[in-house]
């Protein structure tokens, strides 16, 4: 952050004591914006995963010290299951997150442009859809999609099965869509109206102005919030386990059942999932905040 003498940094020595200055806001304390989650995640120190690993190892040793099933046994089980949990489980979470992000981005961009349409009815419709999906609990949306969509559809005599994981992707893409819609609307509206006027005075049509002059100025400033939503989405993919989709949490539970459901397994297995999510999302969060600072209102 920029240091401003007298605001969030001390005034120069020769000026101290000369001027009565209002106590500054605590500029480090951010008002709630779209980055709450990412800022929190990016604010963690780099050694967080190592600390988590230590905790994951220590916890069963301390808590279940007197049981016959040792920490060594628990980690032996985790070790056997690790490749499977990683390649079949976590990678599937990543695939789900990428597909949901792709669908959410395309649909959200369309919805966001709808929100700034000159057509009032389209604008109201896009606004309503955005608010509806932005403010609904993600899990509720997931269940609605799961139950409302048929398990197969027939188009021109061809029957296509919709697997549950596809429904999960679709269900997760809805809140992403609504939030990307707001990102697009906000970015377009952050371009000074003088840019519209300059282009209008050069006889550009509204469509040309939007696509050739306004949106190209928006891509950069849309990138950090877009990445922010990707990290949030990825962290939300374990919700799919509640629909029985075989992602990492579902598979972890199945693996623990296969290992006779020892309670000592819980922390190692779920801790492993937690560390994987952290390792995947932490760099994204760090990069997001760096880009956010770099692109911060600079005209």
């Amino acid at each position: 952050m920029k240091r401003i003498a007298g605001i969030n940094a001390p005034a120069p020595k020769h000026l101290q004591g000369y001027m009565a200055v209002l106590k500054p806001f605590d500029v480090a304390a951010h008002s709630p914006d779209g980055y709450i989650f990412t800022r929190w995640l990016a604010g963690m120190p780099w050694w967080t995963p190592f600390a988590m690993m230590v905790l994951v190892v220590l916890w069963p040793t301390i808590v279940y010290a007197q049981s016959g099933f040792t920490t060594g046994d628990a980690f032996g089980a985790l070790w056997r299951w690790m490749p499977f949990l990683l390649t079949s489980g976590f990678l599937f979470n990543v695939v789900i997150s990428m597909l949901a992000m792709a669908i959410g981005t395309v649909a959200g961009a369309a919805l966001g442009l709808g929100q700034i349409s000159p057509l009032k009815s389209l604008r109201m419709f896009a606004w309503f859809v955005t608010q509806l999906f932005r403010n609904s609990p993600w899990l509720v949306l997931l269940f609605i999609v799961l139950l409302a969509l048929p398990f197969e559809i027939t188009v021109f005599g061809v029957t296509v099965r919709i697997p549950d994981w596809m429904k999960g992707v679709f269900g997760l893409s809805l809140p992403v869509m609504a939030n990307i819609s707001e990102v697009v609307r906000g970015a377009v509206q952050s371009v000074p109206t003088a840019q519209w006027e300059a282009a209008e005075s050069l006889a550009f049509t509204r469509r040309q102005i939007l696509w050739q002059i306004i949106l190209p100025q928006c891509y950069k400033r849309m990138l950090p919030p877009w990445m922010n939503w990707y990290a949030i989405l990825t962290m939300a993919t374990p919700l799919c386990s509640l629909l029985g989709i075989e992602e990492i949490i579902t598979l972890s539970r199945q693996a623990m059942e296969a290992e006779d459901n020892h309670p000592e397994l819980l922390v190692p297995f779920f801790g492993f999932a937690l560390i994987l999510f952290f390792l995947y999302c932490y760099p994204i969060a760090r990069l997001t905040m760096r880009l956010e600072r770099k692109f911060a209102v600079k005209l």
């Binding site: 000074p192 003088a194 840019q195 006027e197 300059a198 282009a199 209008e200 005075s201 050069l202 006889a203 550009f204 049509t205 040309q208 050739q212 002059i213 190209p216 100025q217 005209l299």
Partner: protein, 252 residues
């Protein structure tokens, strides 16, 4: 599309009659009339808040009006049937804050409208754009982005960008008001050359010396009306209205 007008060059190229404009309850223009002949340079001066910028923005339809008429080459600007794009191809505008497109280089800024709006041949447009950049004395800055140019340089790119559309009339809205005193001159030189080339120019300005030098006619506005007007030779010395005298007394 517009109907063919029977405008001939001996009639005013821009003609305002009793123009009224309000923002909500606030009436900014209270019946403004003025005529501009082809090749004329007119300056509109007056205290801030007197409606100068609003007036000039009405001429290319950036602001709508509530009464009266504005004609450019015989075409009513605020006629709902009028194709605004056709009007804007004829009327160029330069703004106080330059408003260059920040994601495009100087050359691209100049080329964009002829390429995308007029759909002209790229090689022709580029040759013309390079000439215009030379004309505003920015040779060598073709590939600079607006953020890399000084205010005066950006404003000259903005003038070149507007000229690239080959307009018949140029509107200048306080184009030197945001500039450092040193760079004001380079922009004024560019405008003077334009005026000498016979371009019809309507300027809103605070540069009295410049107005006196280049204008064919000066209009003084205050509180939404034109208080007084005349050629610079008599306007600055023989102002009769007390408001004009007071304003000129403060400025000169």
């Amino acid at each position: 599309m517009t109907t063919a007008s029977n405008w001939t060059p001996d009639q005013p190229i821009v003609s305002l009659k009793e123009v009224r404009k309000s923002f909500g309850a606030l009436e900014v223009l209270k019946g403004v009339s003025l005529d501009v002949m082809k090749g004329e340079v007119i300056c509109i001066i007056g205290p801030s808040g007197s409606g100068k910028s609003t007036l000039i923005r009405c001429i290319n339809g950036l602001n709508d009006i509530q009464g009266g008429s504005i004609k450019v080459e015989g075409q009513e600007v605020h006629d709902v049937k009028l194709d605004k794009l056709e009007l804007r191809k004829k009327v160029g505008m330069v703004f106080q804050q330059y408003n260059l497109f920040p994601h495009k280089t100087a050359l691209e800024n100049v080329m964009m409208a002829p390429l995308k709006v007029l759909k002209q041949e790229k090689s022709d447009v580029e040759a013309r754009a390079r000439n215009l950049i030379k004309k505003v004395r920015l040779e060598g800055k073709e590939n600079s982005y607006p953020g890399e140019l000084s205010g005066g340089q950006q404003q000259r790119v903005a003038i070149a960008r507007s000229l690239a559309m080959n307009p018949d009339v140029m509107l200048f809205d306080e184009v030197t008001a945001a500039l450092d005193p040193e760079t004001v001159k380079e922009v004024l030189v560019t405008i003077r050359e334009l005026a000498e080339d016979g371009m019809t120019c309507i300027l809103v300005t605070h540069e009295m010396g410049f107005a006196r030098e280049v204008a064919d006619h000066i209009y003084f506005t205050d509180r939404g009306v034109i208080v007084e007007h005349g050629p610079p030779a008599t306007f600055f010395t023989d102002a009769s209205d007390p408001r004009t005298k007071e304003f000129l007394g403060q400025i000169l």
